[in-house]
Symmetry: C2
Subunit: 283 residues, 2 copies
DNA sequence: CAAAATGTTCGCGTATCCTGAACAGCAAGC
DNA sequence: GCTTGCTGTTCAGGATACGCGAACATTTTG
């Protein structure tokens, strides 16, 4: 709903570190809009301060972003607690440790700690957006959401293939998610980047809901040599974080459909009774 | 234009560190919208990841903000150069030094360095939004914009009074801005916070345009005792920063109306010839 | 100097958003 | 307990505001 706002967000999200500057025509071409519409969007978003207009008529992100960012970090105290636990995990394993949440159907990295080994896995920095269907934390978080949600995400972002191992079939992904849900952890065996694997474990709050996922990312050879140990480390780490921050009231964030199940039978216990019984678990 | 997007931004800006959580009814009451409209806005903005929906139906900022913030900081290299110069200034004066830009008609603090003296002036942290009509950097930036822009800003945000010294009359503000423009610096004599004064100087790029302002904020007694010295320090500091970062191409940010003048006669030289001759210097 | 690109403006038609009223859960209230 | 206020949510009709295409102004390319 409110497609105008959705499109404005799309425009905003075009501004990445790799491509920080956009003009009207470029935006129009990229999003398939008429130039005049692109102009209206850029102009309006700039007017409210989220973009800044250069003299040339091109645009960059505006400093009002900084304000929102401050507000966000200020009321996310659990970040620090999680970071300190993750530091221990990095020290123990020497590998790259990261924490991610889902936002807007994609995976956003919240904390990244690079491994201490010289050949630690390189992953994208905190704040990055990565697809959810081909990363361990992404699949972990998808697995604990109802299929209706997963379907909506896939409709919107598709199942892009990055390596030969990437799951690009909906059915295959579905059974993978069911398996992950049952086991309680997720693997990514070179599904996003060749030569890089990852294990992810869910961080739960006191209601058993999973909002964020912890991942340990490791170069393939070493990953396969210590698969079980890494998995246990991830699970234990996620568990410790859960205990530390699970009762933080700020941590009860959730999407629209937390409690419903993947299959339709197996059901997650919600914190409070379900209110609307929107059982159109379509597709 | 695009009032839908504007309202969505208004909704987003409600989420401050002091008030990080909002429900549908609260937003509706605050912005004077029907509940259903507030619902649509919150719901849509959450869908794109800029907000996050709690289980209770209340909302918080979403982590997609983090992504934008990363992009912004990544392509704002002049922050570091400015910060190092400001550090020198803090060391020399012992006072609180800050740097601010205008975004969405209000003043956004980009860098804040607390003074080293035990009784240094306390100001709001980086990322904060403060009014522009009653702060020294705000008035400095307004003064270098055409009156049409100033008028639009005042129409939108009004002239709220914070202390007996706050300028609340449009005419009075106008002559104040003209004076500031002529002199090249701005004072704030307890116009925003009682007992606190500030001097601001413009940071210019190589075209002579002013995008950011440097401020030194000081408790009133000490301010009046060293008024001229502080002013010179601010001007010199701003000048050094200008020379360091003035040629950074990222620093040529500008609004819609940079070049036109306050009065209609006196004219700022633009980098490139003026294109649109929108001379509706209304009001 | 010509030509293709840019950002910008304007007006019309229609799709989209805004609204108000009704619904469903929840938390207190005599 | 049942009721009264409060949440968030849904729906459908009517009016507004958005999106489009064409034309303009300017700059950069050839």
């Amino acid at each position: 709903m409110l497609q105008t706002v959705e499109k404005a967000a799309q425009v905003l999200y075009l501004f990445t570190p790799e491509r920080p500057e956009w003009g009207v025509s470029q935006v129009a071409a990229e999003l398939g809009l008429p130039k005049s519409s692109a102009h209206a969007f850029l102009s309006t978003v700039a007017e409210v301060g989220l973009l800044y207009r250069l003299m040339t008529g091109r645009y960059r992100l505006g400093f009002r972003i900084l304000t929102l960012s401050q507000s966000l970090l200020h009321n996310t105290p659990w970040r620090e607690a999680a970071a300190s636990e993750m530091e221990k995990l990095r020290h123990a394993t020497g590998e790259t440790v990261h924490l991610a949440v889902m936002a807007g159907g994609e995976l956003v990295s919240v904390i990244r700690l690079d491994g201490t080994r010289p050949d630690h896995a390189q992953i994208s920095p905190a704040g990055s957006v990565v697809p959810s269907h081909c990363t361990a934390p992404g699949k972990m978080l998808l697995a604990l959401r109802p299929w209706a949600f997963v379907g909506a995400v896939l409709d919107q972002h598709g199942l892009e293939g990055f390596t030969p191992n990437t799951i690009v079939s909906r059915d295959e992904l579905r059974s993978e998610l069911l398996k992950i849900r049952e086991r309680g952890f997720a693997y990514d065996i070179e599904e996003y980047r060749a030569g890089v694997c990852c294990v992810a474990a869910p961080v739960r709050n006191h209601n058993g809901e999973t909002i964020v996922a912890l991942g340990i990312t490791v170069p393939s050879e070493r990953f396969h040599a210590h698969k079980e140990a890494l998995r246990e480390a991830a699970l234990a780490g996620a568990e410790r974080i859960s205990q530390q921050i699970g009762f933080d009231p700020d941590f009860t964030q959730s999407g629209r459909y937390w409690w419903t199940s993947v299959e339709g039978r197996e059901e997650l216990r919600p914190a409070r009774p379900i209110r609307s019984k929107r059982s159109k678990d379509s597709e």
